[in-house]
């Protein structure tokens, strides 16, 4: 349980895991709660690493309202953000684009959206689900976490 709060991979919360504890040894004098805690914690980390672990990232449903003439710019920008277009429609002379974009790529989106559209587009976003991150991004995250752990040590 302790270890779930700081996942072994990147120090993030872990979820959706089933644990079967089936064996252990005790010492008549020296066994106490803290010993088992630490042992379980380490065993969990080891097993977790062996179990082909994956990082999940939050993905948001984003809805963008934009004038038709900057559609191209917005679309190519979405691709650069690993975004997936889900739906397109028009309303009140504006185009409405629905897309799914990982939160990591959303930082400063309002700034770049207004520079693409000259301030005419607006957007809203809402949490959708957790999805697996692509392998290259995961590798990079692991490296960053290892480095930051070394810094702390």
């Amino acid at each position: 349980m302790d270890r779930m709060e700081q996942g072994p991979l990147t120090g993030s919360y872990a979820r959706d895991v089933r644990v079967c504890i089936y064996d252990g040894k005790m010492h008549p004098v020296d066994s106490n709660e803290i010993s088992f805690r630490l042992a379980a914690r380490n065993a969990f980390s080891t097993a977790f690493r062996d179990a082909n672990p994956k990082v999940l990232e939050p993905v948001y449903d984003v809805e963008i309202l934009l004038p038709a003439d900057c559609m191209g710019g917005v679309q190519s920008d979405l691709q650069g953000r690993r975004g997936i277009m889900m739906d397109m429609s028009s309303a009140n002379g504006l185009e409405r684009v629905k897309a799914r974009i990982p939160l990591k790529e959303m930082s400063s989106y309002s700034t770049s959206l207004s520079s693409i559209s000259g301030g005419r587009a607006s957007f809203s976003m809402k949490f959708s689900s957790y999805e697996l991150v692509p392998a290259d991004v995961q590798a990079q995250l692991l490296k960053e976490y290892e480095e930051s752990k070394q810094d702390e040590d």
Partner: protein, 562 residues
């Protein structure tokens, strides 16, 4: 200062794109209203409404400023709102509290992005709207073009009350089709002289007048009949029709000014005091229970606080609108949201940073009180026996997030207090302490918004801060089963520690069968479940722990599931 009655009060928000000239117009209005004797300039950093240090530094408004002008026996309360989208929260507050939006349009550029964004904000809130075309004195100003753009963009509800005689440098005269007069101002602005319309413009004036009267008549059957019969209306009838049209948002009147030269401002105020709906013309605001509360002077005293700000040398200033009744200085009220008692020993009318004490404020009017004990933005204060609670302002969702950190860690706690205060002053700034990310996240309307926050904290509160990218709340999970064991042993003196745990982890999904047999390498583990614990995680997902015995090898295991 005269006390104004409810039907003599008009509340107007000045909105418009960045740099359209709202703050400069404010200066002209104040001069014409007799509140100040000399105008400041935005460049000079001495305007009434941009009075905070950050506004002087950046040259644009970041918070709305409340002021008033008296004209023809009416009190016009104005809110000078920031133009930039990043500070839209202030405009939203102002528009909710006031009854009419005056959308200032830059006469050089016509309809800009900011014009459209502000128009949409006003439309969403559903308030009456009029256009004020500014910068008529500029050589790039083309009135006909701007007017056509307005009609194309916002429809033919847009109708001109005036057209310029000589737009461009030297602009000093307009033809006013509401009064059917030609107004001419002296070179440096000020009071207009009215004269008959010059023959050269008579036809155009007649054409505009007919268009205006037709629009005005459409809002009332009686007016319509009369207009169809006689093809004309009296000035009073026209004004009444326009006012009704504004309430329904079926007329957006257009007036002209040169804020820079103070030309047209006095006539604009006259027009506003004649055609802008007053509080009693508008639908009554609703309480949280859905009860309608008309602005009735004879009703119970109920006061809504919509803005607090901290001013140097004075402390906290709380701005309020009297929703019902007559608020008298020294009144004892109950704070409905917080349950505390409050005495409003002194009440003031406000004009930028100047406050004038006044004996009473009638329903519909705006005022301010200083150093209240326990009043937050958004609270309702009532006299005894009155149960109204107002909460009608809906703020836009935040668009821009950053993690904030004090450079000097010892100031973290102080920073927290400052941020909480900032949130009270500006409800569009959201502050969140994230335990998961181990960061403090501030969310605002845009990059400028947060940059202004940083400026304020660094210069007013003297805390050096930095922004960081917010961390991403990743989750980890596994995709196959694995087995591990670990022995924790520390028996080198003192009370020893010894524990050994063997366990298997595997991915969990809803409705999967109970664990049975696992295979790792050549060994097979058959499970016999003793005990099961399901722990839902507060961040979503599930941890399921089984306490098992392995049957294949016949020893009993026991363990801790922590």
């Amino acid at each position: 200062m005269k006390v104004y009655k409810t039907n003599e009060i008009k509340n107007i928000s000045l909105v418009g794109g960045k740099g359209a000239g709202k703050t400069t117009l404010t200066e002209s209005i104040l001069l014409e209203g007799g509140t100040i004797s000399r105008r400041g300039t935005v460049d000079g950093g001495n305007t009434v409404s941009d009075n905070s240090p950050v506004e002087k530094e950046y040259g644009y408004s970041v918070s709305s400023c409340v002021f008033y002008a008296e004209k023809d026996g009416k009190k016009l309360n104005f809110f000078d709102c920031p133009g930039s989208d990043d500070f839209v929260g202030n405009a939203v507050t102002a528009l909710n509290v006031t009854d009419t939006a005056a959308l200032v349009v830059d006469g050089r550029n016509g309809v800009e992005v900011g014009t459209q964004n502000n128009f949409r904000t006003v439309e969403r809130i559903g308030k009456p709207l009029m256009f004020v075309i500014n910068r008529l004195e500029d050589e790039k100003c083309d009135f006909d073009n701007v007017y056509n753009q307005l009609r194309e963009t916002f429809g033919n509800k847009v109708v001109a009350l005036q057209f310029p005689v000589n737009a461009g440098p030297g602009f000093n005269s307009v033809v006013d089709v509401l009064a059917m007069k030609q107004y001419t101002w002296p070179k440096d602005g000020g009071k207009a002289t009215a004269s008959d319309i010059d023959g050269a413009h008579a036809d155009k004036a007649e054409e505009y007048r007919m268009a205006l009267l037709e629009m005005a008549a459409e809002n009332d059957e009686e007016l319509m009949m009369k207009f169809l019969d006689e093809m004309t209306l009296t000035d009073e009838e026209a004004m009444k029709g326009i006012r009704m049209g504004m309430v329904d948002r079926s007329i957006f009147p257009v007036v002209l000014v040169s804020a820079e030269k103070n030309i047209g401002t006095d006539r604009m105020l006259e027009i506003m005091s004649a055609i802008v709906p007053d509080v009693t013309d508008m639908p009554a605001p609703k309480t949280t229970n859905g009860d309608e509360v008309p602005a009735d002077e004879n009703g119970p005293v109920s006061v809504y606080f919509f803005k607090t700000s901290v001013e140097t040398h004075i402390g906290e200033v709380s701005y309020f609108k009297v929703m019902s009744g007559v608020l008298k200085a020294g009144a004892d009220l109950t704070n409905m949201n917080r349950g505390s008692k409050e005495r409003l020993a002194q009440i003031n009318v406000v004009c930028g940073q100047n406050k004038t004490p006044i004996d009473e404020i009638h329903a519909g009017d705006i005022g301010a009180a200083v150093k209240l004990k326990d009043v937050r933005c958004g609270n309702t204060l009532n006299e005894k026996g009155c149960e109204y609670i107002f909460d009608f302002i809906e703020y836009p969702a935040p668009k821009f997030q950053r993690a904030i950190r004090a450079l000097n860690e010892s100031e973290t706690e102080k920073l927290g207090a400052v941020l909480n205060r900032m949130h009270e002053e500006d409800p569009t700034l959201l502050i969140e302490q994230s335990k998961e990310l181990r960061q403090t996240i501030v969310s605002g309307q845009g990059e400028f918004h947060l940059r202004t926050l940083k400026w304020n904290i660094e210069n007013n509160d003297k805390i050096q801060i930095e922004y960081q990218e917010p961390r991403i709340p990743y989750r980890e999970t596994i995709t196959k089963a694995a087995r591990a064991e670990y022995r924790h042993k520390k028996q080198s003196g003192g009370s020893g520690q010894f524990g050994e745990v063997h366990l298997i982890v595997e991915p969990y999904r809803e409705g999967m069968p109970e664990p049975d047999t696992y295979k790792f390498g050549n060994q097979e583990y058959k499970m016999n479940i003793k005990d099961k614990q399901e722990i839902p995680m507060e961040w979503g997902g599930m941890l399921v722990v089984y306490n098992c015995i392995v049957l294949r090898v016949s020893w009993t295991a026991w363990s801790r599931a922590r």
